[in-house]
């Protein structure tokens, strides 16, 4: 049940008939996204799941204003997105840290770019975020000196530094172990309670998508389309702990079936 084209106002993110075509170096046209309509409400948590290469990152970069749609329109808070906005925060699929800057400086980077004050408070905020993701004591280290997962966590902290209304996260927990992942999920949910945010969240973990989101957007590849949008039938507040519940499991199974298709269902 792809969402219909609604009037944008009151909605945090609206994608309206969005297509995106890339041209490869040998001149071939690659249709990454086709006919994507999606409306995300204020403070909604929406996950994107789908096969590798189905256009999840492309969709996120369109919303982030880093790419322009070939056809269609992307709007945030009612305004058409033509360039990156100050009220969005993006977690890249790869950590993308500045190699010459310490972790602390990498975290302060958004504030510097957005001309926000770099005062003691900002530093404290950065250190608190690092602490939260288990990187206390790594503030003065350089990206090269961190493990892959640690770099990714630093990237998450960076996206939170300027406290954006809209969080766009591209597999933020992809390089994290089960334990860290769970802790990070919990922190993210906490954060969204303390400071409500609209979140668009790419993940490969179906469980994670059900655990965290209000709705899960299942995408199908070549070209990337929205296959179905699944509403999670549990209140977000007390979802942790209810993973074993029937609603949770059947919702996850539904998504799994969508992705794995008939073949799996038959197995």
């Amino acid at each position: 049940m792809p969402s219909g084209t609604e009037t944008p106002n009151g909605h945090a993110i609206v994608l309206d008939g969005v297509e995106r075509v890339f041209e490869s170096r040998d001149g071939e046209q690659i249709q990454a996204l086709k006919g994507v309509n999606l409306t995300v409400s204020e403070h909604e948590f929406v996950s994107l799941v789908g096969q590798s290469g189905c256009g999840k990152s492309t969709l996120l970069r369109l919303v982030a204003g880093l790419l322009a749609p070939t056809v269609g329109r992307v709007a945030i808070h009612g305004e058409t997105v033509t360039e990156p906005r100050t009220d969005t925060g993006l977690v890249f699929q790869s950590p993308t840290l500045l190699p010459w800057a310490s972790i602390l400086d990498n975290l302060l980077f958004p504030l510097r770019m957005l001309h926000r004050p770099i005062d003691a408070e900002a530093r404290e905020r950065a250190l608190a975020l690092l602490e939260l993701v288990g990187l206390a004591g790594f503030a003065s280290r350089y990206p090269k000196e961190l493990s892959g997962g640690m770099q990714q966590r630093a990237g998450i902290c960076r996206a939170l530094m300027h406290d954006p209304d809209v969080l766009l996260m591209d597999e933020p927990f992809g390089a994290l172990d089960a334990l860290t992942r769970e802790e990070m999920s919990r922190e993210l949910l906490d954060l969204c309670v303390r400071r409500p945010k609209t979140v668009l969240f790419v993940t490969h973990s179906i469980t994670e998508s059900v655990l965290l989101s209000d709705r899960v957007v299942v995408m199908s590849p070549r070209p990337g389309r929205i296959q179905e949008i699944v509403t999670v039938p549990l209140p977000r507040e007390n979802r942790i702990g209810s993973e074993a519940s029937h609603e949770f499991q059947s919702c996850a199974q539904h998504i799994r079936d969508l992705i794995f298709g008939r073949r799996h269902a038959a197995a």
């Binding site: 982030a64 204003g65 880093l66 360039e83 990156p84 906005r85 100050t86 993006l90 890249f92 790869s94 993308t96 500045l98 190699p99 010459w100 800057a101 980077f109 958004p110 510097r112 770019m113 957005l114 350089y142 300027h162």
Partner: protein
């Protein structure tokens, strides 16, 4: 082959030393004159090259307009340019500084432009995602990324500044090591001419090392400062 060079063309080290000690004052004063030109010319190169490189990398069109002009200033021998500069700028120090600048700045511009334009896409995207203005992209992403290339350009520029100043002194000066080399050669004071050449070489090496050390101190993360074979 070296043995075929007669003594008055390549004097013995002892002779050079003796002559330089005898004329230490004169040599010192000419050295200072040259150093001043080198310094000002190098300064001009840096001050002009950085914005120029930024301009060049701002668009393909800019590059296509500016490059030919720069190449033009390089293909024309400075010696042919000197008289015009003297007539335009007077017989003071300015033409010498301009010649030094013209000799030194080109490799710097190209090196900086190359550095600025080879920033990886993901870092550019990172900057853009925070609405980086042109200026911010430059100061927070492109320039830090280009540091190794900038210093590679500075190393060349500082070295060429020395030879630029000397060439300038060949064609327009009554002081400086360039002038001194010409005049002592003419008087067959080969020992002194060689002393001046040695001072020039040392000046070049010292200034080069200053740039190397500056890179090491200011930008310890630059790859030029890490041993390539450390595994």
């Amino acid at each position: 082959m070296v043995f075929e060079i007669p003594a008055f063309l390549l004097p013995s080290p002892a002779r050079i030393l003796r002559d330089s000690v005898a004329e230490a004052d004169t040599l010192g004063w000419h050295t200072l004159a040259t150093l001043k030109t080198v310094f000002l010319g190098f300064l001009a190169s840096v001050v002009i090259s950085l914005p120029l490189a930024v301009l060049i990398t701002s668009s393909k069109r800019m590059a296509n307009t500016i490059y030919p002009i720069l190449v033009l200033t390089q293909s024309i021998p400075k010696v042919a340019l000197a008289p015009i500069l003297v007539i335009l700028l007077g017989t003071n120090e300015l033409p010498r500084i301009v010649v030094t600048f013209l000799v030194a700045f080109f490799p710097l511009v190209i090196a900086v432009a190359t550095g600025l334009s080879s920033v990886p896409d993901d870092l550019v995207e990172l900057g853009r995602s925070y609405r980086g203005s042109r200026w911010q992209m430059l100061t927070r992403i492109r320039l830090p990324y280009a540091v190794p290339m900038i210093f590679s350009g500075l190393k060349v520029a500082v070295t060429l500044s020395v030879v630029g100043a000397v060439v300038a002194e060949f064609v327009n000066a009554d002081a400086g090591l360039g002038y001194f080399i010409i005049s002592s050669t003419a008087f067959f004071e080969t020992g002194l001419a060689y002393a001046a050449l040695i001072i020039l070489s040392l000046m070049g090496i010292v200034l080069f090392q200053i740039v190397v050390v500056a890179e090491r101190v200011l930008f310890p993360w630059s790859p030029a400062n890490t041993d390539p074979v450390s595994r």
